[in-house]
Amino acid sequence: MAAMSDPAAVEVAAPTWDRFPRRSVALRHLDAGSCNGCESELSLLSSPDYDLTRYGFSFTPSPKHADILVVTGVITEAMVPVIRQVFLQMAAPKRVLALGACAADGGIFVGAPGVLGSLAGIVPVTVTVAGCPPSPGDILRGLLAVTDHRDPRAFGEAME
């Protein structure tokens, strides 16, 4: 059986080496024009099968408590001020994870009216996770890449 995980899914766009809170990391999700597929997978991170709290991650409804902003969807013009505002409200150090083909580059929706297809110039993206939707395992890898600055899959390969 083919694996649900995509080996090339996680891309660390901007490795930054300043200190990042590692033990308890709060996530703020923001939908910027998704088809709800990415949300469906993201909400499965709470399931016992993935249990994101094992790694110290948790979801928070408040940007003020958030360390990582997880953005899904095509980035519509209507959401740009909201994304900016939420990022502004987050306390530093803070990171952005672009989740799914849509948030990475607009995917199949490039060219639709009001669709930007990129977070460039809005907020700085640290890690991109490819997939449509990315599997929950790949999302976890992406989150760990945000805190560890490299895809945890690379650690696994080094040990093999």
Binding site: M1, V82, P133
Partner: protein, 484 residues
């Protein structure tokens, strides 16, 4: 097992020259109990009407009629309200069926509120832990919610505009991303509309697999909705159990069809068997599905005996009778409000059993919506098991995407496809270029677009602020399917 493949429902099309004559036929049929859905209110109007069930049992379960109005202007807001509220239905349908749907539609009874002590909570578009973007404005007086306003427009991807001018097969991947949790049904409705337009029926070998895909999708969707409902009442254990079952079923999807959300399988003319994994094995899949069925029944049984859960759901978020009559919500929301419409029963498509029974309750509260989903989930998993027992992927290998059959001049420039998606009636109407077969225009009637206007009136119906997350979760609607 022998599968009975029913012929695709034939649809009579009646064209009217004036809005008055169109409206007269439309309201006559409504008064006789026909179900309506306005497919399109762009360049003329097209409504699809489904007759009451059981009349014409052998051939089709319900007669199907399209009422087309070629002329402008479209029928407008009714001059005087009718006793049956049927003209209000038309008004609501007109507003949500346009190319630029009027998403702020409110029930006619809703009036602006103001006064001392009134506080408006803005909630959204960024809200909750993982949620789609939508702005709720909850006006409260003390604890009681007196009004709810919904503002979408944050997520618009302009899908109808994006597909215009594309060939059918170029539009298919976009339609498969309309609402991913319902993508099988979106592509199925599009495929059925194309099959009608080009007069190329779906290959009969695809019928059982289409049911399998559709019911797997419904079960995943209902499991997710039930998990969200358990979470909204603060019951983490059933939430985790439902999420685990959802994940298990998504893995079954992946093992059988190579995609966790089953995308890429349904195509016009049948199925895209080239995307089937070579090692798809129905035996372990059926074993997993049987486990899921057993566990889901056990969790639902425990919830039905958990007073803290029942207390929060009973009598919460009752859809007012006027809204049921005027808006006619579809899917589990409608069936929990006494409206016995299920497209699988009314029209013959794929190979659903002719004696399919769907749960219908009339309490119209959060508890009824919970019960309907629980029963439908079990029924879907039963259907999955029955189709899996005779499913042999090796016998499907001859099915492939036939690009040639669905390009070039169509037999008819318009085609309609109607299915019962997890959230309710979903209809596609294609208007094709007579020479190239490219899409001139796409009309889509989604269940979420139809059901969202019911939410404000159900929330502002004697509920307190603390009930809001529960009522919201009990509807289980998608924003992507509305704000598209």
């Amino acid at each position: 097992m022998s599968t009975i493949v029913s012929p695709p429902p034939t649809r009579a099309v009646h064209t009217y020259a004036t809005a008055a004559s169109w409206l007269e036929t439309w309201s006559d049929l409504r008064e006789q109990g026909w179900e309506t859905v306005l497919l399109d209110a762009h360049q003329g109007v097209e409504a699809l009407l489904m007759g009451p069930p059981g009349r014409d049992r052998d051939a089709h379960r319900s007669p199907l009629v399209s009422l087309r109005l070629a002329a402008e202007p479209a029928p407008q807001r009714p001059a005087s309200p009718s006793g049956l509220d049927i003209l209000e239905t038309l008004d609501a349908e007109m507003r949500i069926a346009g190319e630029e749907p009027d998403l702020g539609w409110q029930a006619p009874t809703s009036v602006p509120v103001r006064g001392k002590g009134l506080f408006v909570y803005p909630l959204g578009p960024a809200r909750a832990d993982v949620a789609e973007s939508l702005l709720y404005r909850l006006a409260v007086m003390g604890d009681e919610i007196v009004q709810l306003d919904l503002s979408p427009h944050f997520k618009r991807r302009h899908i109808r505009q994006l597909v215009r001018g594309r060939s059918l097969l170029d539009a298919l991947p976009i339609i498969a991303r309309f609402t991913t949790t319902s993508n099988v049904h979106h592509t199925l409705a599009l495929a059925m509309a194309a099959e009608a337009a080009w007069d190329v029926p779906a290959h009969p070998d695809a019928a059982a697999t289409r049911v399998l895909l559709a019911e797997l999708e419904r079960a995943v969707s209902h499991l997710g909705d039930l998990a969200a409902l358990a979470a909204s009442t603060g019951l983490t254990v059933p939430q985790m159990e439902y999420l685990h079952l959802k994940e298990t079923l998504l893995r079954v999807n992946f093992a059988l069809f190579g995609h966790r959300y089953l995308r890429g399988m349904v195509c016009p003319g049948g199925l895209n068997a080239s995307a089937l994994p070579v090692d798809a094995d129905p035996v372990p899949a059926a074993e997993s599905v049987r486990d899921i069925l057993r566990s889901a029944s056990a969790i639902a049984g425990q919830l039905a005996h958990t007073p803290s859960f029942l207390d929060r759901l009973y009598g919460a978020g009752v859809v007012p009778p006027s809204a049921i009559r005027q808006l006619r919500p579809v899917g589990p929301v409608g069936r929990a409000s006494g409206l016995a419409l299920d497209v699988r029963q009314r029209l013959s498509y794929a190979d659903y059993p002719p004696d399919l029974r769907v749960p219908v309750l009339s309490r119209a509260d959060a508890y009824a919506r919970f019960r309907v989903r629980v029963d439908e989930l079990e029924q879907s998993l039963d259907l999955v098991l029955s189709r899996l027992s005779a499913w042999d992927p090796a016998r499907l290998s001859h099915l492939a995407v036939d690009a040639r059959a669905f390009s070039g001049p169509p037999r008819s420039a318009q085609g309609v496809g109607v299915v019962e998606a997890p959230r309710g009636l979903l209809a596609y109407r294609l208007v094709l270029d007579a020479d190239s077969g490219r899409l001139d225009h796409l009309g889509v009637a989604t269940p979420s677009a139809r059901n969202w206007p019911v939410v404000p009136v159900a929330v502002a119906n004697g509920n307190i602020l603390q009930d809001f997350p529960i009522i919201d979760a009990s509807f289980g609607l998608s924003v992507a399917g509305w704000d598209s």
